[in-house]
Amino acid sequence: MATSDERVPKIMKQGRVVPWLYVAPALLIMTAIIMYPAINTFLLSFKNADGTLSAASACVPGEPCWGIFENFRYALTAPIMQNAFRNNLLWVILMVGGTVSMGLLIAVLADRVRYEALAKAIIFMPMAISFVGAGIIWKFVYAYGTGRVQIGLLNAIVTSLGGDTVSWLSQPAINNFSLIIVGVWMWTGFCMTILSAALKSVPDEILEAARVDGATEWKVFWKIMVPIIMPTIAVVVTTMVINVLKVFDIVYVMTGGNYGTEVIANRMYGEMYISHQSGRSAAIAVVLILLTIPFMIWNVRRLREQEAIR
C-alpha cells in the first residue's frame, strides 16, 4: 500500500464501480445476517417478552425492578442464571485448565516418540465429529443401569472394583464434571496441535546446552520450554476461554441443562424457544458477548504482536 502511485498499473486504481462489484455481494449478506441482527438483539434486550413494549412493562409493583434494564436484572440475578454463571465459571476453569495441560503434556510426550503422527491423530480426531456424536459416545460411557449388568463402561469399572453404581449425569455433585470431561476429550487435540507447533520452534541448541549442563528433563520443561512458548500458551488459553463461555451443544444433548447443569448459552436458547421470552434471551446474549469481548480484543492484540515479531 505504501508503494508510489506511479508504479501501480492504471487498472489497479480504476476504483469507481469495479471494486464494488467484487465486494458488494459479501457486504450485503453480512449486513443482513450479522450487522442488522446484532444491533436488533441489542435493542430487543430492552423490550418485553414479544418485543412490543419496553422491558419496564414487565415489572411487578412491590418487587425489585430495574426499569428498562429489567431483562438484565433477570439475566444477572435470577437463581437459574446464577446457577448458569457458576457452572460456566466451573467450565472455564476446569475445561481450559484440562485441555491446555493435557494438550501440553501430550505435545511434549509425542515429540519424543516415533509414532508421533499417529498419537496426535488419535487425540485430534474428536475435533472432527459433532458435539452431538460426542454426546452419544459419552452418554454410553456414563450409562447407568439399575440391574445386575452395567452396560456403561464407567459403572462397570466401578462395580467390578466393588463400588456402587453412580448416576454420572444426574447426580448434582458430579454431573458437571462428567460433562466437562467430554469437553476436554473433544478440545485437547486443538490445544495439543498449536502447542506442539510452538514446542518445535524452541531451538534445539538451547535445550541441548541445558541438558549438557546437567538440567533434568523436568527443569528443562519448566525453566526453558514453558517460558519460551508462554505467548502461545496465552493465546491458546484465551481462545479456549472464548469457546468455553459459549458452550451449548454438550449440555443440550447430554442433560438438556437439567439436574443443575445449566449454562448461559443453553439458557439463552431455552428463554427464546421454550419460554418465548425474547427480551430475556436477548439480554442473556448481550451479557454473553460482553463476557467474551475482553478476551477477544486481548487475543487479537496478542496475535498482531506475534505477527509483527515474525
Binding site: 471494486p19 459479501a26 441482527p37 456424536g133
Partner: protein
C-alpha cells in the same frame, strides 16, 4: 553398549506408557460405540460391549449344572436332546426350568449333588438352551442397527425381519423409498448434504471476490471497510438468532434451505474474507502487475491467476466450513428444526424421544460421524490447518 541401550529404553518407558495410555483413553469411548452399533439390540442391553467376544450368556452356568449328564454339546441323552427345539420349547423361562429341575427324576433328585441354580443363572441357562437348539440364535455382529437407523424404523424387532413377515410400520413401505422416510437417518444425511454443500461453496466464492478486491484493487475506503468486515468475526452467532428467526418468519424462510444457506453464508464470510485477503495479498505483486500490463482485466486476473494459486487456502477453508456446518446443531435446530431434519437434529431428537434405544443411537451417531472421519483421515493436513485457523469463529 547393550546396557546403555537397555537403560535408554527403560528411560523412555514412562513416556510410552503415559502416551499410549492417553491414546487408549481417547480411543476407547469411540471404539465402544462402534462395537455396540454392530451388536444385535437384545445383546446391547444385557451385556457390556467389552464382552462381545466372550462365551455366549449361560454357557458357563450350563457347563456347571447340566453338562455332566447332558454333555457339553447337550446331545448326550438322546430322549432329552438339548439341541432339539421341541424339548427346549417346554422350558422357555427360568421359572419353568427351575420347576422342572426341582422335580425328582426316576426317583432321584434331577440334579443329584449339583447345587440348584439361582434364578438369574437359570434364566441364563434358558437363554443358552434357546441358543443351542436354534430357537433364537443371535449373531455377535449385525448390520441391522444401521439399516433400522437409516430407514427410521422404530418397531419392536428390526426392519429386515418385519418387512419379511409383512408387519411393517405404517410409515414404511419396505422398498427403496424408505431411505427418504423423514424420521430416518438416510433422509437426514441427504438434508445435511443439501445444507453443507451450498453453505461451503457460497461463502468461499463471495469471499474470494471480496478478498481479491481488497488485495489488488485500490479503492477508497477499502482499509476501513476491510477492518469492519473482519471485525464482524467477534459477533457470536447466538447474538443474531432471535432477529433473524423473526425476519425469516415474516419472509417465510423458516424451515427452508434458502434461509439456512443465507445464514451460514453470512456467518462464514468474515473469517473467509480475512483468510482470502491475507492469502491473495501475500502472492507476489509482480505477477499481478505484469498480468495487468499485458492487458488482463480484473476478471481475467481473478479467474485465471488468483483462484488457481489459492487452491491450498481454498481447500483448508472449504474443509473447515463444511465440517463446521455438518456438525452444527444450534443453527439447524433454530432455522430448520423438524421440517428438514439434518443429522445432528435427528440424533438429538432420538436422545430425547427414544430414551435408551442404544442400538439406534449408536448406529445413528456413526452414520453422522462417517463423513467427518473420512475427511479427517484422508485430508488430515488441510483439515488440521483449517480447523486451527477457524476455531475461534462462531
Amino acid at each position: 553398549m547393550t546396557v546403555e541401550r537397555i537403560k535408554k529404553i527403560l528411560g523412555h518407558l514412562p513416556t510410552h506408557i503415559v502416551l499410549i495410555g492417553l491414546c487408549a483413553i481417547w480411543l476407547i469411548p469411540t471404539f465402544g460405540l462402534l462395537i455396540t452399533s454392530l451388536r444385535p439390540f437384545q445383546n446391547i442391553n444385557t451385556s457390556g460391549w467389552w464382552t462381545v467376544l466372550a462365551a455366549p450368556t449361560g454357557s458357563e452356568e450350563y457347563s456347571q449344572t447340566c453338562a455332566s449328564c447332558h454333555g457339553s454339546d447337550g446331545k448326550a441323552i438322546a430322549w432329552a436332546d438339548h439341541t432339539d427345539p421341541e424339548v427346549v420349547q417346554q422350558y422357555p423361562r427360568s421359572i419353568k426350568l427351575l420347576a422342572m429341575l426341582k422335580q425328582d427324576h426316576k426317583g432321584q433328585p434331577h440334579l443329584g449333588d449339583i447345587p440348584m441354580p439361582e434364578p438369574q443363572q437359570a434364566a441364563d441357562i434358558a437363554d443358552y438352551l434357546k441358543r443351542i437348539s436354534g430357537i433364537e440364535v443371535r449373531p455377535r455382529f449385525t448390520l441391522n442397527n444401521y439399516i433400522d437407523a437409516l430407514m427410521g424404523y422404530r418397531g419392536r424387532n428390526n426392519y429386515v425381519t418385519d418387512c419379511a413377515t409383512g408387519e411393517q410400520a405404517l410409515d414404511l413401505n419396505c422398498d427403496n423409498s424408505d431411505l427418504l422416510n423423514p424420521r430416518g437417518m438416510g433422509r437426514a444425511f441427504l438434508n445435511s448434504l443439501l445444507v453443507a454443500i451450498p453453505c461451503t461453496i457460497l461463502p468461499i466464492i463471495l469471499a474470494s471476490f471480496a478478498g481479491y478486491a481488497f488485495s489488488w484493487i485500490h479503492f477508497r475506503s477499502r482499509v476501513w471497510l476491510f477492518a469492519l468486515l473482519v471485525g464482524l468475526q467477534i459477533v457470536p452467532l447466538q447474538m443474531t438468532l432471535i432477529p433473524i428467526s423473526r425476519l425469516y418468519a415474516q419472509l417465510g424462510l423458516n424451515g427452508t434451505f434458502q434461509g439456512i444457506w443465507l445464514f451460514h453464508t453470512g456467518f462464514g464470510l468474515p473469517y473467509a474474507i480475512y483468510l482470502m485477503r491475507n492469502f491473495l495479498g501475500s502472492l507476489p505483486r509482480d505477477l499481478f502487475e505484469s498480468a495487468y500490463l499485458d492487458g488482463a482485466s480484473h476478471w481475467t486476473a481473478f479467474w485465471r491467476l488468483a483462484l488457481p494459486l489459492s487452491v491450498p487456502a481454498l481447500a483448508s477453508l472449504a474443509i473447515f466450513q463444511f465440517l463446521w456446518i455438518w456438525n452444527d446443531l444450534l443453527v439447524a435446530l433454530v432455522f430448520l428444526g423438524g421440517q428438514k431434519p439434518v443429522l445432528t437434529y435427528q440424533i438429538s431428537n432420538m436422545v430425547s424421544s427414544l430414551g435408551a434405544g442404544w442400538h439406534l443411537l449408536t448406529a445413528a451417531a456413526f452414520i453422522s460421524m462417517a463423513l467427518p472421519m473420512i475427511v479427517f483421515f484422508s485430508l488430515q493436513r488441510y483439515f488440521v490447518r483449517g480447523m486451527l485457523a477457524g476455531a475461534v469463529k462462531g
